[in-house]
């Protein structure tokens, strides 16, 4: 008698992985989910930090998917290992700095390791041929299966009928006829299947789930690498790139300007590591200065800080400066006029 087969599903928090797991569960397979935390995930952070984003549902979409499915979800920290994928992608970058194909190979490879360590039989992803220009193409799908080590234990239930039969299908663990043959960028088949299962309120991230696909974020990361002289980063670096307005008025320093209360609170946690300033005569942002700064830089930064404060139209604004080596000092400056801020200072 066959024992219940077990599959590990990559759960991103989006609709496709939710559906893929459910399709396989419908065939009597025990499914558990894995979700990977790279540090670049859009999920959670910005609405945790920014007050203005708090009207959105406050939830981790991968955990929400797991609850809808009634499965366990294991969230795996891959921050350190993922650095090499971002810095040296063998297959290059897709949109902006997204190491699309390498990322998918890496994550399926990690799921494969998890599968072997936990005695599971195969892996499920929500990939659909033609859905993404780089990682979800008919010619790249075999590359992912091969380079991840998953080989024919990798099942894509939403487009399986457009691909060669995998081990679970050949061995009769899964009925291929009950899998799907979705293809292309249309979301209609997924929306229809979601309706059939009664899934509502699922996440539909417009720009994907990774900051590396975001142009503005990529500009800031490239600036970080350029000014440091090497393609390296720590978790705090990439977290700070998600927060605030970033300006580089001089090659030797960058300003990170809190845009609202939530961001100011978040930046407060980094005060001791940076020269920082805030207006005291008017309400305004906490500003971190990243880089080595001289007195002329401090004055320029204070004028910019004043510009982003409620005193932007005042003649003078008092700004308190903390350099973490000596007592705080106060300087009075005239806010820099908006027209005197060159657009290329903004990252």
């Amino acid at each position: 008698m066959n024992s219940t087969r077990k599959a590990v599903a990559l759960i991103s928090g989006g609709l496709d992985s939710l559906l893929a797991a459910r399709v396989v569960m419908d065939q009597g397979v025990h499914v558990e989910g894995v979700n990977f935390y790279t540090g670049f995930c859009v999920e959670g952070h910005t609405h945790a930090i920014r007050r203005q984003d708090r009207t959105r549902p406050r939830r981790n979409n991968a955990l929400w998917s797991a609850e809808q499915l009634g499965i366990r979800l294991h969230i795996l920290d891959i921050i350190e290992e993922y650095k090499d994928i971002v810095i040296n992608p063998k297959h290059g970058y897709g949109a902006n700095l997204n190491p699309c194909l390498d990322c998918k190979i890496f994550m399926v490879g990690k799921a494969h390791e998890w599968m072997q360590a936990h005695g599971f039989d195969f892996i499920i992803t929500g990939e659909v041929i033609g859905q993404r220009p780089m990682s979800q193409r008919k010619d790249t799908m075999p590359v992912i299966a091969r380079d991840s080590g998953a080989e024919d234990r990798l099942v894509r239930p939403l487009c399986a009928r457009n691909l060669p039969a995998t081990l679970p299908e050949r061995a009769g663990w899964l009925d291929r006829e009950k899998l799907y043959g979705f293809n292309g960028r249309s979301r209609k088949p997924q929306i229809a299947l979601a309706a059939q299962y009664g899934f509502r309120d699922f996440a539909q991230p417009a720009g994907g789930c990774c900051f590396l696909t975001d142009r503005q974020y990529a500009v800031k990361l490239e600036d970080l690498w350029k000014t440091r002289g090497s393609k390296q980063y720590e978790l705090d670096d990439i977290m700070l790139l998600k927060v605030g307005r970033h300006l580089r008025p001089r090659p030797n320093f960058k300003m990170i300007v809190g845009r609202e209360e939530g961001e100011n609170h978040f930046l407060e946690g980094y005060r001791k590591r940076f020269v920082h300033m805030m207006p005291v005569s008017h309400n305004g942002p906490l500003v971190l200065l990243d880089g080595a700064v001289g007195s002329a830089d401090i004055e320029l930064a204070a004028r910019l800080t004043a510009r982003f404060s409620k005193g932007r139209d005042a003649d003078r604004v008092t700004v308190e400066v903390h350099d973490n080596r000596s007592p705080a000092s106060r300087i009075e400056v005239a806010p820099i006029p908006a027209g005197e801020i060159p657009p290329d200072w903004y990252l």
Binding site: E43, G44, A48, N60, L63, E67, I75, M239, H265
Partner: protein, 79 residues
């Protein structure tokens, strides 16, 4: 049965969940964990993670910007 504190302050989600998950993996059924965090999202995410793994959230307290979530590790845990 023992009690443990998980310091997840100044970490953004899902790190408090990951720290909780790691602590549960080192715990025994019936152990109590006190997860201290500052990300308001943890109030949603840690209980959601507990629900899918069958652990009990005993109470959630807030003190200024700190949030304390007390959980009891499930009798049978395969996390």
């Amino acid at each position: 049965m023992s009690k443990h504190v998980v310091d997840a302050r100044n970490l953004l989600c899902p790190m408090p969940v990951i720290r909780t998950q790691d602590a549960v993996a080192r715990s025994r059924p019936g152990d109590e964990l006190r997860i201290v965090c500052t990300d308001p999202g943890a109030v949603y995410d840690v209980p959601a993670w507990c629900r899918v793994h069958g652990h009990t959230v005993r109470r959630i307290d807030r003190l200024d910007r700190e949030i304390c979530i007390e959980i009891v590790v499930a009798q049978v845990d395969a996390s």
